[in-house]
């Protein structure tokens, strides 16, 4: 089984996130980057499938500037066989269609049986890339995957639905799956893996330009005012005023 795993480098949950003076993105120099959480689970799942079948190949693929080679190396240290780095400046790049088409271009020649991606990235949280890639490459696609069973040229996956419900679906190969966090226990890279990672291939490709239909205008920290409004009256009156405030002033209903 030949499996591609999309890994993204994202700001860590505890990283400082100062906004860049141009207000287009955070100041990348101040950010502590990590591997996107659900991608880490996707990678582990791919490695386990390869190990269970004692054959196959796991290829990690990532998109971004030079700094992302750090997560690529981490994935190689954990056991991925080789990597593809789509070299692109990602500041303000938030169009999932453009992102997915870069990946689809890089992946289509390789004829992967499976393409794994994390359910969503922890920075933008679009949750679309894996699904769009599946569509572009004409692959069976499933999102929110919680468990995978392989065998007989098909796969069965358990998908997470709403409110604690699940669903098992069968898919033909090739397939693109977006993986939910928590379906396995990601490994730590061993020292052997770390020492071996630098000997593994990272193929750097430059993508064809794609027009983005969506871009970042401005980012800012929401302004918060401390205002206290006392609502008085009978219970019914208070409820009515409260609903009015929610609807018309704060606009959350």
């Amino acid at each position: 089984m030949k499996i591609a795993v999309l890994v993204k480098q994202v700001p860590g949950a505890e990283s400082p996130l100062p906004i860049h003076s141009n207000q287009k993105w955070v100041d990348e120099d101040a950010v502590a980057y990590v591997m996107n959480e659900s991608d880490n689970y996707a990678l582990e799942e791919a490695l386990q499938i390869k190990e269970a079948n004692s054959e196959g190949e796991v290829v990690v693929i990532s998109l971004g500037p030079d700094r992302i080679q750090k997560v690529i190396r981490e994935a190689l240290a954990k056991g991925a066989d080789r990597a593809i780095h789509i070299q692109i400046d990602t500041v303000g790049a938030i169009d999932p269609l453009a992102t997915a088409s870069h990946f689809a271009d890089a992946l289509k020649e390789e004829n992967f049986d499976l393409i794994f991606s994390g359910l969503q990235s922890d920075d933008f949280g679009m949750a679309q890339t894996g699904v769009i890639i599946g569509e572009m490459l004409g692959m069976a696609t499933a999102s929110l995957v919680m468990a995978i069973e392989t065998g007989g040229g098909k796969i069965k996956v358990k998908r997470e639905l709403e409110a604690g419900w699940f669903q098992w679906v069968s898919l033909s190969l090739p397939a693109s799956l977006t993986i939910q966090s928590g379906l396995n226990t990601p490994r730590y890279p061993s020292l052997k893996g770390i020492m071996g990672a630098k000997k593994k291939e990272i193929k750097v490709v430059t993508p064809n330009p794609v027009e983005a239909n969506q871009s970042l205008e401005k980012i800012y920290v929401p302004h918060s005012d401390k205002q206290t409004v006392m609502i008085e009256g009978s219970v019914d009156q208070m409820v009515e005023k409260l609903i009015h405030t929610f609807r018309n002033d704060i606009k959350v209903l």
Binding site: R73, E74, A77, Y188, P189, S190, L191, K192, I194, M195, A197, K198
Partner: protein, 385 residues
């Protein structure tokens, strides 16, 4: 500073050990300390990751990384739990490295791979009830009989003693009635005549296994002698600088663990309507802690780096060990001060670092002995010796 000493591999190693420590060690560290339980499961996990043989050559089953990598790993482990860190460090720099440095090819092939993989734990027995700083006063005697030695005596305060498969021990060597001086042996701990005392009850490092060991007519084959006895052996002991670098690194880790907790607390706790870091008295403490930790880290990595360059680091290792251990004692004391009463109770986990710090000024040569080593070395340069 990391950029000065770290390659990409070092950074990956540090990130891995930090993740491992955060997820697997920190959540159980207070409990391990409380019940004085040896971290066997953690050691097994560390073995799988390659952490029990970091600076041991690949061909002997180790990870083949350098002293900088080893020190960085000890530091990260120590930041979470000093007992886990010293278990790994004593195993590596005292239990395994002496065989790598002084062993014959045959001894290396036989004893090092199971140690480097972490399948077996190693220990080093130098200290005796009447021979601590004064290692020359060793009373344990190994008397040659044919192709074997019969050993009588004992060791005290031996880290990993109850868990070790291999013990390197020092002893007087008696051949044909002649005392050849102090030498060493590699001894499998299941050898008859080797008896363990009960686990010592300690102020800190409570999850680390420390015991007295007794040798009663213990017979070891002559081929298990490590190095040559006498003057050469003294030189060999001096070159065992890995242990001092371990303790320096562990000191930095111990200080960091306490400092990070104090720093966080200082930004959360309020008194007199202010966050307490806004009082200069508290802010200055934090500044001193951060500065001294950084200085100790530099001394430690510099000594480790020099060792990797193959330089003599007797003085540098002693300086790093001395400064870092005394810094750890001071930093952990001040960390408690910043937490006030909360620092003194176990729930806030800072007093554990304080208790774990004191031994750093004693083990692997006391502060007094480090000063002796350093002064001897600097006087030498003036006297042109």
């Amino acid at each position: 500073m990391d950029a000065l000493f770290f390659t990409d591999e070092h950074t990956m190693l540090v990130n891995m050990v930090r993740d491992f420590a955060d997820n697997e060690i920190t959540p159980i560290a207070a409990e391990l300390d409380e019940v004085e339980s040896f971290p066997r499961a953690l050691v097994n996990q560390m073995a799988e990751l390659g952490l029990m043989g970091i600076p041991i050559p690949e061909e002997l089953g180790g990870a083949g990384m350098d002293t900088v990598a080893y020190a960085a790993a000890v530091m990260e482990l120590g930041c979470a739990d000093a007992s886990v860190a010293i278990t790994m460090a004593a195993h590596t720099s005292l239990g395994t490295s002496p065989i790598v440095i002084a062993g014959t090819d045959k001894q290396k092939k036989k004893f090092v791979p199971p140690l480097a993989s972490g399948e077996m734990i190693g220990a080093f027995g130098l200290t005796e009830p009447e021979a601590g700083s004064d290692a020359g006063a060793t009373k344990t005697r190994a008397v040659k009989k044919g192709n074997e030695y019969v050993v009588n005596g004992g060791k005290i305060f031996i880290t990993n003693a109850g868990e070790a498969g291999i013990l390197n021990l020092t002893s007087r060597i008696i051949d044909d009635g002649e005392d050849l001086g102090i030498g060493a042996f590699i001894v499998p701990t299941n050898t008859r005549g080797l008896k363990l005392g009960p686990k010592e009850k300690k102020m800190g490092w409570r999850a680390s296994d420390t015991r007295q060991i007794f040798f009663e007519d213990m017979v070891i084959p002559a081929e298990n002698m490590l190095g040559t006895p006498g003057k050469g052996f003294k030189t060999f002991l001096e070159t065992l600088t890995g242990g001092r670098i371990s303790v320096a690194a562990l000191s930095v880790g111990t200080a960091l663990g306490a400092y990070e907790r104090a720093l966080k607390y200082a930004t959360e706790r309020k008194a007199f309507g202010m966050e307490i870091h806004e009082f200069q008295a508290v802010g200055n403490k934090l500044a001193d802690m951060a500065t001294e930790i950084e200085a100790a880290k530099l001394l430690t990595f510099h000594a480790a780096w020099m060792k990797d360059q193959g330089k003599n680091i007797i003085k540098e290792a002693a300086m790093a060990k001395l400064f870092a251990s005394e810094m750890a004692m001071k930093t952990t004391t001040e960390a408690i001060q910043i937490l006030g009463g909360y620092g003194y109770v176990k729930e806030y986990d800072v007093e554990r670092y304080f208790r774990d710090a004191k031994i750093l000024e004693i083990g692997e040569g006391t502060s007094e002995i480090q000063r002796l080593i350093i002064s001897k070395n600097i006087i030498k340069t003036v006297k042109g010796l």
